[in-house]
């Protein structure tokens, strides 16, 4: 963890805590490992590593019905697997859910196995009419609170998408 990525992870954790998030359910992506490690060590959160991304959707939705603030953290590939869970649980019952995912497959991501995420992630979000906010700079981490509150107004899920420049530093 570099000083810069550590600082970004801490800002994300502080922003989540300021929203009242207690439960964070996560699956890893290399880009969010600093965020996961930071949350795991932070007593303000109950961090639950899950077996697959859909489990995070179920956990956080149940926590909402118990009045506990929550967030699901995952990579773009994992997000691509949760469409049914989101539409079935969060759209059908109108249960708010706050998600954080990586914006993979864009310029600067040299991993060929993320090309499909670059091609289809944003069109998929548009297709299911799920609002998203791209967060590209450390000073924009404060948008997390606005997006979290929007899930409560919109009573459906919303995702913030972290770029490589935010999580790993731009170059």
């Amino acid at each position: 963890m570099t000083e810069k990525t550590s600082s970004t992870a801490a800002r994300i954790a502080d922003e989540l805590a300021s929203c009242g998030v207690k439960l964070v359910a996560s699956l890893p992506d290399n880009w969010v490992m600093d965020v996961i490690d930071t949350i795991e060590r932070d007593d303000r959160f109950v961090h639950v590593p899950v077996n697959r991304e859909e489990s995070a959707i179920g956990l956080c939705s149940g926590a909402y019905m118990g009045a506990m603030g929550s967030a699901a953290l995952m990579g773009a590939s994992g997000f691509m697997t949760v469409v049914y869970a989101l539409t079935k649980i969060n759209y059908t019952y109108e249960i708010p859910l706050f998600l954080m995912a990586t914006l993979r497959g864009m310029a600067g991501d040299h991993h060929k196995h993320h090309v499909s995420n670059g091609l289809y992630l944003l069109p998929l979000l548009d297709a299911i009419k799920m609002p998203y906010q791209i967060i590209d700079k450390p000073q924009d981490v404060a948008l997390i609170s606005r997006c979290y509150r929007h899930t409560r107004t919109y009573v459906r899920p919303m995702v913030v998408l972290f770029t490589r420049d935010l999580l790993r530093g731009g170059h």
Binding site: V48, R52, I89, T92, Y93
Partner: protein, 203 residues
């Protein structure tokens, strides 16, 4: 063991537990025997997520006792859920695996590896300690109180070996609620029990 009679026996022994049901048959059977419209959340067609949903609720409200039903069709889709449940080890959560050895919600279509699946064994292999199996209504009536009344140190996993729905039972009514109505009925009940604030405003 007859599916509906098993659920009747369990419902008779319910003492205020909050219930989450899964897709298809468990929702139909629980609705038939309880007609509960406030303290049960019918998480229809959730494709394996009823116990994860229940775990989130159990974590958020530790003073509530939560029962979560799931068919073995849903379980086969996501058995790794038990790893998460074991890790969380919530003492107020009981996971009922309703083993009818079929995809009951889709007209008893065949399950993979159905003759060999040892659900209790899988649970023990993932480190669960409070694992129980019931194969008859008599056993449910006789032993269930001791299983659920114990001061459990961690979460409980119960396998119910039942017969699949008959063709007639498949026609049983589904819980009739629209999603948002169920959310509010259930959520307002949780608020009244605990004093928590789920929706951000009270009526």
């Amino acid at each position: 063991m007859n599916y509906v009679e098993c659920f009747r026996a369990i419902a008779r022994q319910r003492t205020g537990e909050i219930v989450i049901t899964s897709a298809g048959n468990s929702s139909q059977a629980w609705w038939l025997v309880t007609r509960d419209s406030v303290a049960s959340f019918y998480l229809d067609a959730s494709m394996s997520l009823s116990t994860m949903f229940a775990s989130g609720l159990a974590l958020a409200q530790p003073e509530l006792k939560i029962w979560a039903f799931m068919g073995d069709g849903a379980f086969c889709m996501n058995p790794g859920m038990l790893m998460v449940e074991r890790q969380m080890n919530l003492p107020n959560l009981t996971h009922f695996l309703v083993s009818n050895r079929a995809y009951g919600g889709t007209s008893n279509a065949g399950l993979p590896n159905v003759g060999n699946n040892d659900y209790a064994g899988m649970a023990r292999a993932m480190g669960l300690e409070r694992v129980f199996e019931f194969r008859s209504v008599d056993a449910v009536q006789r032993e269930f109180p001791a299983v659920t009344a114990a001061n459990a140190p961690g979460h409980t996993f119960i396998v119910l070996e039942v017969e699949p729905f008959s063709e007639q039972e498949q026609k049983m009514e589904q819980p009739p609620f629209d999603g948002p109505e169920l959310k509010f009925r259930f959520g307002r009940h949780i608020e009244s029990l605990t004093g928590c604030n789920i929706f951000g405003y009270r009526i």
